[in-house]
Symmetry: C2
Subunit: 322 residues, 2 copies
């Protein structure tokens, strides 16, 4: 839930007048996203999502995010499309903060994941990867393998208090991930945060992908590994192999994985689990108690990491042997 900035009538009216969208008819802060302030803005013409970018989103990254969404939408991906102001720009200012308006997408995010959700996700993820293949701008992934050790150093002091032995486990795993992380898998635009919150369904179909504010350039298969972690474990943290098989099978119908990607998938899944374990551990230790944002338990990703550590081959995820 997130509305950090109050927008005055005058500021809203002046902002809306920058666009060819007609008179504002409704304006409501919505509980979507945790990093930025989001509003549902309705005008005579249509509905839009207005986002004010708060402190944690770097302004210099916004042209990448907005350009990517526009590129993907042009290619037919169901994602928010930035709306251009009358001067042609899609990045504006509101209340002294960077702000952009995007198209409204129908659909609701799945709160309890069914196997068919994973199947629809696999197809959408592969389509996203194909659609992004000719997007020219690059954005390095600061939260890939090179970013993990600094996160660990900033939070290792509190690790064992959360789970005995966690500090040593992470240290050992990091060594291994750093030495075995691949150099040369197929790269491109990845969403990098395609959790259930960020995927909309309408009836029995996927209707939209949202929140591209972690998108970056990285191994495409790493995006799959993030989704396996985010979608294929049950609430009790048992691994649902059917969901993984459907996710990967649907992905491969659109974009076939090469042998190296298949071979590396278990390691990529370990890496993805490590990434969320570390960011959650960092946030756990650095978010004051009673703060506005609910802290997520890092141990969820410790358990997922342990699962992937036991996986020897991608067949465990339901991929066919090559």
């Amino acid at each position: 839930m997130a509305v950090y900035t109050e927008v005055s009538d005058e500021d809203l009216a002046a902002f809306a007048a920058l666009y060819d969208i007609g008179q504002v008819q409704s304006f409501k802060g919505i509980a979507e996203g945790v990093e930025n302030s989001n509003f549902l803005l309705e005008t005579e013409k249509d509905r839009y999502i207005l986002t004010l970018y708060e402190r944690r989103t770097k302004p210099e990254d916004l042209p990448f995010f907005l350009g990517l969404m526009e590129h993907l939408a042009d290619k037919g991906i169901a994602c928010p499309t930035p709306i251009h102001a009358r001067d042609g720009q899609s990045l504006k200012n509101l209340c002294g903060k960077p702000a952009a308006m995007v198209s409204f997408l129908k659909g609701i995010s799945a709160r309890s994941i069914k196997p068919w959700h994973c199947q629809a996700l696999g197809q959408a993820l592969a389509s996203l990867h194909l659609a992004g293949s000719d997007f020219k701008t690059q954005r390095p992934n600061a939260l890939s393998v090179s970013g993990w050790r600094p996160l660990f150093e900033a939070s290792r002091h509190g690790a064992d208090e959360l789970a005995p032995g966690l500090e040593a486990l992470i240290a050992l795993e990091l060594d291994r991930l750093e030495s075995e992380w691949p150099q040369d898998l197929p790269r491109g635009v990845i969403h990098a945060d395609l959790f259930p919150d960020n995927v909309f369904f309408l009836g029995d179909a996927l209707s939209g992908l949202i929140d591209f504010y972690f998108a970056c350039t990285d191994f495409l298969a790493y995006d799959i590994a993030i989704c396996v972690n985010a979608w294929c474990f049950e609430k009790d943290l048992s691994f649902n192999a059917t969901k993984a098989r459907l996710l990967l099978g649907a992905y491969e119908k659109v974009r076939r994985l090469d042998d190296a990607e298949v071979a590396m998938l278990p390691l990529l899944c370990r890496g993805a689990a490590m990434r969320f374990l570390l960011t959650r551990l960092y946030d756990w230790l650095h978010t004051p108690a009673g703060a506005f944002v609910t802290r997520k338990d890092p141990r969820e990703y410790l358990k997922k990491l342990r699962f992937h550590q036991e996986v020897k081959r991608a067949e465990a995820y339901g991929l066919n042997a090559r």
Copy 2:
């Protein structure tokens, strides 16, 4: 901002199926109201506001609130209309909490109040009072004069820390309010919380009144006094007599005040200032630091109370002498 309850897919689908509203197409928590969880629910047919009533709303009061909204909407007041489920009921359960769905109203609340807003408000308030005049159910106002002393007793210990001399000032004022409070002014349904947050405007007209969860049976003129406090002071807490004159003048074009109401208006304004001073003082002292809800500064209403204490006659509010 308020979304206290997570609603699962299954619960939402089962809830929506109780109504003849078609398939759910969008479901977003919204930052509206502070006491309850509110969602904007969109279906094939229409948009609705779904409210889950949290701890501070008494379930036994809900039939009054929902019945009142329906009564007022039937009379043409632009307010949320409760939607009936297939079984005819408008009060249901969701996630173990009382829940109701009402019609969606277009419009945005004014964040900076202009004189014309007060004029439109005056007319709408009088229309509300007339429309409520034949509503049969009664609900006593627990936050009128009889409720103030208990609030004071529960928070007097912290009063002087907030503002030196506040405890004595309230004690003296309470004595006077209790002894001079009228017995016999025209009564009926009042909104009792018609702050700018709860009034929508669309273009240059008032488009809706929302949040009837403090509505009750009390002196109609006390509702006016609440609005004078909430709408007619500037951000620097200076009193804007033009706004008051427009509010009261527009009110009287729809419902003329009788002599007793006019004579009592200064005292009712003191009472209304006392009511919000006391509830804010109580919340100030009883809300833990760092809690989810932003505490509102009680001193705003101390300053308003002091203004009204200097007022001798209703002419100060722009009312014509009788």
